[in-house]
């Protein structure tokens, strides 16, 4: 294999990692919510979509009033988007899940789909159905290799990778080391007993929705800055992909969600780079089917043990 091929492979790997990191960040939300209440949050993809719009709005406002360095603008956009989506995540739990806690299991799923449709249509009406564009904030790329053969990673892509890494590590500490993490894990295993021991499980569930939403916002902000284009429908496809990633890695497992995200991203980017762009989704879902046949609980998931 000559150097030219290696560089192309490397380039696809970088693209795949960046794509996978965003899938992973969104998959975290699916996985955490499933882990704690055993249900899928179907409105999660829409949180990602809303975060793209909020980011663009904040950046537009900052640009209008001006006077801020790029780094500060990005930070403010990120923090503000996280705040808005946190409220949105809390609202979704409050409106679509909590009132239906004691009803039959499918009801919250349907109401979450309802919330998802409401958000999509609201954004479509409020912001228009056309593609929205956003200017590039960080110009420039990092090049590895020579003049003719090289691979490159833009500063935006680098930002996504760093953000994914930092947020994954901090989430790991939060769940593994802190008091809140302990109460999360306890609620996941036995909510009734956790209540008896004085843990407000309702609050824990709300916070889990909020954390999932914040992670989707991190992905949404940086992806919007990277691609510079979005519409009211991006939440659906990206949400489904991230959900696939969560299932692939073993739903309920946080490292699994990140691993699944990276796998789906890399598979997609390699397939579209070397084989065919049109069938990249088919390939990604094909891998999901294959892995679920071999290991139904996902790569890092625990097999469901029947409770006696």
């Amino acid at each position: 294999m000559n150097a030219f091929d290696l560089y192309i492979i490397g380039q696809q790997l970088i693209n795949g990692l960046v794509l996978g990191a965003t899938y992973g960040l969104i998959a975290i939300g699916y996985s955490m919510v499933y882990g704690i209440i055993g249900m899928i949050n179907f409105a999660h993809g829409e949180i990602y979509m809303v975060s793209a719009y909020v980011t663009a709005l904040v950046i537009a406002l900052i640009a209008y009033f001006g006077g801020l360095p790029v780094g500060a603008a990005i930070m403010i956009a990120l923090l503000f988007t996280m705040l808005i989506t946190a409220i949105l995540g809390w609202l979704i739990e409050r409106v679509a899940y909590r009132p239906l806690k004691n009803s039959f299991r499918l009801a919250p799923l349907i109401s979450a789909i309802g919330v998802s449709l409401i958000l999509q249509n609201f954004i479509q009406l409020a912001q228009g159905a056309r593609n929205q564009a956003m200017p590039t904030l960080l110009e420039g790329v990092l090049r590895i290799g020579g003049e003719e053969q090289f691979m490159q990673i833009s500063y935006h892509q680098l930002l996504i990778l760093v953000a994914a890494l930092v947020s994954m590590l901090s989430l790991n500490t939060l769940i593994g080391k802190t008091k809140f993490g302990r109460s999360c894990r306890a609620t996941q295993q036995d909510p009734v007993m956790a209540e008896i021991l004085g843990i407000n499980t309702q609050k824990v569930i709300s916070l889990v929705f909020v954390i999932g939403a914040v992670f989707a916002a991190i992905a949404g902000t940086f992806v919007t800055m990277n691609y510079g284009s979005f519409d009211f429908y991006i939440g659906f496809v990206t949400g489904i992909k991230a959900f696939t990633a969560a299932v692939l890695g073993g739903i309920g497992s946080l490292p699994g969600a990140m691993l699944g995200g990276l796998l789906v991203g890399i598979a997609e980017s390699f397939f579209s780079g070397f084989v065919n762009t049109d069938y990249k989704d088919v390939f990604a879902f094909g891998i999901l089917v294959l892995i679920l046949i071999i290991k139904p609980s996902g790569l890092l998931g625990h097999p469901e043990v029947e409770k006696v």
Partner: protein, 292 residues
């Protein structure tokens, strides 16, 4: 001191619970003295666990009330605490209703620890995937709440709290003899030790009343012996009031000062072990009667 002993920590008056047409509890009346060990006994299906479920807010009584003396010495209606107090125009009840109105929205079973009630279940409900120590730390959640945000800004406070929690956990592990197994996965412990760990965990919520639902179920005689000395030490050292449901009559007769017998949702007898042993109603409830 002797007088304080006589104070009632829990009084259940005319408690009624019905599921559809079935009356699980039909006017249950009893009270428990502070610092005593009492037992709730009765044949299967008598409604013992239902009483516990009312105490911890799982069931909403359809009538009657449960009053619990809180640490300030005030009598507290548990239904108000759980936010399930029905609305009524009675002036006294109306003021309690509005006082505890927030609990209707923010309340829930987790407030039992605020009242000072700890509970175990019939089956073992440890957090199996967590370590032995972590199981105890979770029970201290209420004592050290609000530390996450504080901890972000003042890591020192957070670390001090963690240290305090760990030393408390260590103390309880020592009391039940599990110190050497502190880092094991709780689900890997043998059955008898899991029972002990559950009691230690219940004690970590700083309760003043602990309700043990069949603590001796599945234990061998030696383990039952250890259990009864553990329960006695809870009373002596920690001054905790104990209420237990138990089928092991030798355990009940040995350690309990007061026994309440339930049958078909009604209290058929209450008194000291001696009185209960010779009560014809109790004997007939347990052994059945020829036609009277």
């Amino acid at each position: 001191m002797a007088q304080k002993r006589e104070e009632k920590i829990l009084s259940v008056t005319n408690l009624q619970v019905s599921f559809g047409g079935i009356r699980a509890l039909d006017g249950v009346d009893f009270s428990i003295l502070e610092g005593s060990i009492s037992a709730l006994i009765g044949p299967n299906g008598a409604g013992k666990t239902t009483v516990f479920n009312c105490l911890t807010g799982f069931y909403r009584p359809s009538g009657g009330s449960i009053n619990f003396k809180n640490s300030q010495g005030h009598s507290l209606n548990l239904a108000a605490l759980f936010g399930s107090l029905p609305f009524s125009w009675n002036r006294d009840q109306l003021s309690t209703y509005f006082k505890y109105l927030p609990n209707k929205f923010f309340g829930g079973t987790h407030l039992v620890t605020r009242a000072g009630i700890g509970r175990t279940f019939q089956n073992i409900r440890l957090f199996k995937e967590l370590s032995v120590t972590e199981n105890l730390l979770i029970a201290m959640h209420r004592d050290f709440r609000g530390t996450l945000i504080k901890g972000l800004f003042f890591p020192k406070i957070y670390q001090q709290n963690e240290k305090k929690q760990l030393s408390k956990a260590k103390y309880w592990l020592e009391r039940v003899g599990l110190l050497s197994l502190a880092n094991e996965r709780a689900g890997d412990l043998p059955y008898g030790l899991q029972r002990k760990l559950e009691i230690a965990r219940t004690m970590c919520v700083n309760p003043r009343l602990i309700c043990l639902d069949e603590p001796a179920a599945g234990l061998n005689p030696a383990e039952t012996e250890e259990l009864s000395s553990l329960i006695l030490s809870l009373k002596e050292i920690d001054k905790v009031t104990v209420l237990l449901i138990e089928h092991d009559m030798s355990l009940v007769m040995n350690i309990c000062e007061q026994i309440v017998v339930l049958n078909y949702g009604q209290v058929i007898a209450k008194g000291t072990p001696e009185e209960i042993k010779n009560n014809p109603k109790v004997i007939s409830a347990y052994l059945g009667t020829e036609n009277v």
